[in-house]
Every structure is written in structure tokens, then in C-alpha cells.
């Protein structure tokens, strides 16, 4: 046979049984030519631009899904951070912009639109502040809009005034979406070292160094890595690393091909391929299950950080070999609510917030989809963000916090979001106060690692 039957069956098995999929095709669209002092005209401009640029995105992506028989789960759009392009609008807030983004997303049929964002790592402009203060209402009154705020970079340090403000914004966002367990917070990410070309939500935005329009593809496949590892008989860790690398290579090749064909058909530049092991609530499609396949009784046991470091590194190496366009976040995600193995580990008392924080030193992003008690203070949330940002800037990596102070819930309760967002057990936070530290404000200076010129 011209193609090896075993390879054909391997591909079929990865897709059918191990949930390998293209997680997202995300079209990045620049809105820089849409700025206008009148917010109504600005909104018209962005609606027109998004709906014309992305008019064929969903249809084309579906055609390619059928041509190759590889599921493409989400079609998304990211735009230039709204705080930048709406800065010159005279309006008191930007909620109407979020509503316009929502309408445009619905018109073209995408699942999410990201970019209700501000980059404030060194300081805020009036537009940044307007955007940040609009986030709670914007997320409560829209369905598809995702927001993100970058509060720190290795080069700039940590903007602690912004960190403190985001603690309050997260609490308010939860309160305004209290009837749905604070789902607004699932669409809000606070970043350090945010990448400009990430296709994954909720943190996607089309950065200022990006072209007019680009296709960024996010591939996933924790289930395929998990299955490949479990086939090995008494492997040592070097052999485990090798198998993860090979599986990551194959998954990345699939994404590379899909990204190239989508770009060609839409006549849009192919930006990056993000190979991230993004779990889903399906049993086995789990990053925790991979760590447990390496020999840990439960994710969270001592050795988990080392296992995750091995996994994240092997994924990157396999991906880098398979495509020259690897970018974005590329590594292993550790969202709690979206990963059945993580949920079990929390329920069994194996996995705590502190262990998750340690794991974020070596995973691809940060504390993700974690529910905490509804009475967690804004300052405590800000303290959690500050810790993550410190890990990010000191290790020159992206970190993020997507945390849900679940309204009315206490430790042991659950939040239920459904779909890919899943369900999460409410986890305890440290009961001692961070308030005085957080309220001091100012900027934590850039670490010495930033002085590289």
C-alpha cells in the first residue's frame, strides 16, 4: 500500500478513540484602522471589519474538517486589544464595544471572540482604565466576548496597582454573573508576559506586532499522549520523554497541515501553530492522567512538578521539530475544571492551590479555571495574581490567572459551567491576609533577568 496501513490505523485511532482534534482555528484581525472619536462610528467600523474579514471562516473551516476527517472544535476570532483602538473614543465606558464584538461574533458564527484587552504591565492610560472598569459589565452582558489584561512582563516588572484593580474586577465580574456561578470570570484572564499570537481563549488577542490578518491554529491531544504512554511496558523516564515527543510531533504535523490549508483557502497569512495539551472533561483526555501514567498515584503527589516539567519540555521539542511556526503558548495546560483527572485529584485531597502554583512554574501557562470560595477578598485574589506574575517574570515565561470566586459557594461546593469549561470543586485559599501588601501599590521592578542587552 502506498501509505502504511498501520499509520493509517494509528491516525484513525488517535482521532476516534483518543480525542485528538484541532482545538481551534483562530483568525486574528487588526482593528487599528477602525479608530474614531465617536464610539458609534468606531463600533460600526469594527463590526464591518470583523464581519467582512471573517465571513468565510466558519464555512471554510468546516469544509476542511470534512475533507480530512479531523474534527475542528472551535472557530474563533482575536482582535487588537480594544483599549488601544478605542482609546480615542470619548465615551465614558467601552461596554458598547463588547456588545458590538458579541454581535459580530454571532453574525459570522464563531464560538468566541477575544481581545477585550489591555496591556498595562508598566502603567495605565485613560483608555486602559476605561476598558478594565468596563470588564465586569461587558462579560455579564455578552456571551462570546473574552477579556484579558497583561499586568506584568519580564522587561517591565509587575504593575501592582493594576494587580490590585484586577482583584476587584474579578470579584465584580463574579457578582454580576452570580446566577451562573460567576461564569464571567471564566472569560477573563490576567496575564504576565502575554503572547501576542495565542489562539486559545480566554486569553487570545491580536497583538500590536501582528499583521493585518492571520490564521493561528491550536492543536490539542492529551488523550493521544496518555494512550501512547499507557501502551509502554515498564518504561523509564527517558523512554517516556521520547514517546511524548513523538506523539507531539504527529499532533503538530496535523495542525500544521490544517493551518496551511485554511490559510490558503482564505487567502490569509498563516501565523502560528500552538501545540498545547488542552484537556477536555472527557475521561482520559486529561493532563492529570498523563502525569499519573508516569507513575504518580494522583496528580499533586510529590514528583508532580517534575513529571509536568518533563511533559511540557517533551511537548515543545516534538512540536518544534514538526513545524517552524510553533508559537503561542505551546505546552501543557493545567485547568482544573476542564480536566476530569485534576478534579478527581482535588476531590481526593491530592491537589491544592499551592501545588498548582508550583506546577505553573513549569507548565505552559498558569492557574487556570480554579474556583475559590465566594467570600475570597479582592486583595487575596490580587495576591494570587501577584504570585503568578512573579513566577512569570522571573522565569521569562507566560503565566496567567483565571480564577472564579464562586458567588455564595464555599469549600466543597461545585461550580457548573458545562461544555468545555466543565465543573470545578471550590478550593480553599490561604486564610491569612495579603491586603496590606497588595494595597501598597506601585511597581515591582523588572527582575535582573530583564537586563540582557
Amino acid at each position: 500500500m502506498l501509505i502504511n496501513p498501520n499509520e493509517i490505523l494509528e491516525t484513525i485511532r488517535m482521532v476516534r478513540m483518543e480525542h485528538l482534534d484541532i482545538r481551534t482555528v483562530t483568525m486574528g484581525i487588526s482593528l487599528r484602522d477602525c479608530a474614531h472619536p465617536d464610539i458609534r462610528i468606531f463600533n460600526e467600523n469594527i463590526y464591518k471589519k470583523i464581519t467582512s474579514r471573517a465571513k468565510d471562516l466558519v464555512r471554510t473551516t468546516n469544509e476542511i474538517q470534512n475533507l480530512y476527517g479531523i474534527p475542528i472544535i472551535n472557530k474563533r476570532i482575536s482582535v487588537t486589544p480594544i483599549a488601544i483602538v478605542a482609546e480615542s473614543c470619548g465615551a465614558p465606558d467601552f461596554v458598547s464595544v463588547a456588545k458590538t464584538l458579541d454581535e459580530a461574533a454571532k453574525k459570522v458564527g464563531v464560538d468566541f471572540i477575544g481581545g477585550f484587552s489591555a496591556l498595562v504591565h508598566k502603567g495605565t492610560t485613560p483608555g486602559d482604565l476605561k476598558l478594565i472598569n468596563s470588564i465586569p459589565e461587558a462579560l455579564a452582558e455578552t456571551e462570546k466576548v473574552c477579556a484579558s489584561v497583561n499586568v506584568a512582563t519580564t522587561k517591565a516588572g509587575i504593575n501592582m496597582d493594576a494587580v490590585g484593580l484586577m482583584g476587584e474586577v474579578i470579584r465584580k465580574t463574579a457578582e454580576l454573573t452570580a446566577e451562573r456561578d460567576g461564569i464571567g470570570c471564566a472569560k477573563l484572564v490576567v496575564f504576565a508576559n502575554a503572547p501576542e499570537d495565542n489562539p486559545f481563549m480566554a486569553g487570545a488577542f491580536h497583538g500590536i506586532g501582528e499583521p493585518e490578518c492571520a490564521i493561528n491554529v491550536g492543536v490539542s491531544g492529551p488523550g493521544a499522549v496518555n494512550a501512547a504512554l499507557r501502551e509502554l511496558e515498564r518504561p523509564n523516564l527517558t523512554e517516556i520523554s521520547e514517546v511524548i515527543k513523538k506523539t507531539a510531533f504527529k499532533i503538530t504535523r496535523m495542525g500544521e497541515m490544517i493551518g496551511r490549508v485554511v490559510s490558503e483557502r482564505l487567502g490569509v497569512e498563516f501565523g502560528i501553530l500552538d501545540l498545547s495539551l488542552a484537556p477536555t472533561p472527557v475521561i482520559g483526555d486529561s493532563v492529570a492522567a498523563i502525569l499519573e501514567a508516569m507513575g504518580l498515584e494522583r496528580c499533586g503527589a510529590h514528583g508532580t512538578t517534575a513529571a509536568l516539567a518533563l511533559l511540557n519540555d517533551a511537548v515543545k521539542k516534538g512540536g518544534a521539530m514538526a513545524s517552524s511556526r510553533v508559537g503561542g503558548l505551546s505546552g501543557a495546560f493545567i485547568p482544573v475544571s476542564e480536566d476530569a483527572g485534576m478534579i478527581r485529584a482535588v476531590e481526593d485531597g491530592a491537589l491544592s492551590l499551592d501545588k498548582l502554583e508550583a506546577m505553573t512554574c513549569v507548565c505552559s501557562v498558569g492557574l487556570d479555571m480554579i474556583a475559590v470560595p465566594g467570600d475570597t477578598s479582592a486583595e487575596t485574589i490580587a495576591g494570587i495574581i501577584a504570585d503568578e506574575a512573579a513566577i512569570g517574570i522571573s522565569n521569562q515565561k507566560t503565566t496567567a490567572v483565571r480564577i472564579i470566586p464562586a458567588p455564595g459557594k464555599k469549600v466543597g461546593d461545585y461550580v457548573e459551567f458545562g461544555g468545555l469549561l466543565g465543573r470545578a470543586p471550590v478550593m480553599p485559599v490561604n486564610p491569612f491576609s495579603s491586603a496590606l501588601f497588595v494595597r501598597r501599590g506601585g511597581r515591582i521592578p523588572a527582575p535582573i533577568q530583564s537586563l540582557r542587552n
Partner: protein
């Protein structure tokens, strides 16, 4: 330009008529068999065909639907996927 070759996989329990009936649908769509092989994977009958579709006037969606429907009446799963889905994953 991508090729017009497809991998057709038939997975299920073996029975009389699988080859005859799936290839009849292929003939109706003017789809030619380039190569064919069958094997048992984890106790399940698996047939793989490399097939070539006509250059012009080929309706992939209708063909995929026709093959899937025939498979359903045979009690097997039939998938039609472009060959690149398999080439790219395993080859540089």
C-alpha cells in the same frame, strides 16, 4: 494544489458484501480504487482503500454521505478522508 486521492476506511464486523456494496457506491461516483488492503485490528475487521476521485464534477460531501449511509446499512463505519491527513502526520 492538493491531490484528489482519498483514504477510505471501513471498520466493523466482517460480513458478506462489504467490498461489493462499498465499491458499488464508489463506482457510482466514478471513484477508482488505487490500492486496497484488509486486516483485523484488535479483533475488528478493517479495510483500507486508497481511492482516486475524478478531477472534475466530484461532490465530496455527497460521496461521503453515500459511503456513510451504505456503511450504516452494513453495520460498519465508513470514513472518507483526504490522503494528506495521513501523509502529513507520519512523514516529513
Amino acid at each position: 494544489m492538493i491531490s484528489n486521492r482519498f483514504i477510505i476506511t471501513v471498520i466493523g464486523s466482517d460480513r458478506v458484501g462489504i467490498v461489493a456494496r462499498t465499491t458499488t457506491v464508489m463506482a457510482n461516483f466514478n471513484v477508482n480504487i488505487v490500492d486496497i488492503s484488509q486486516t483485523i485490528m484488535q479483533g475488528i475487521f478493517t479495510m483500507i482503500m486508497l481511492a482516486e476521485a475524478p478531477q472534475e464534477g466530484f461532490d465530496l460531501a455527497a460521496f461521503q454521505e453515500g459511503m456513510a449511509a451504505e456503511g450504516k446499512s452494513l453495520g460498519v463505519e465508513v470514513k472518507v478522508q483526504h490522503e494528506d491527513a495521513f501523509r502529513y502526520m507520519h512523514r516529513i
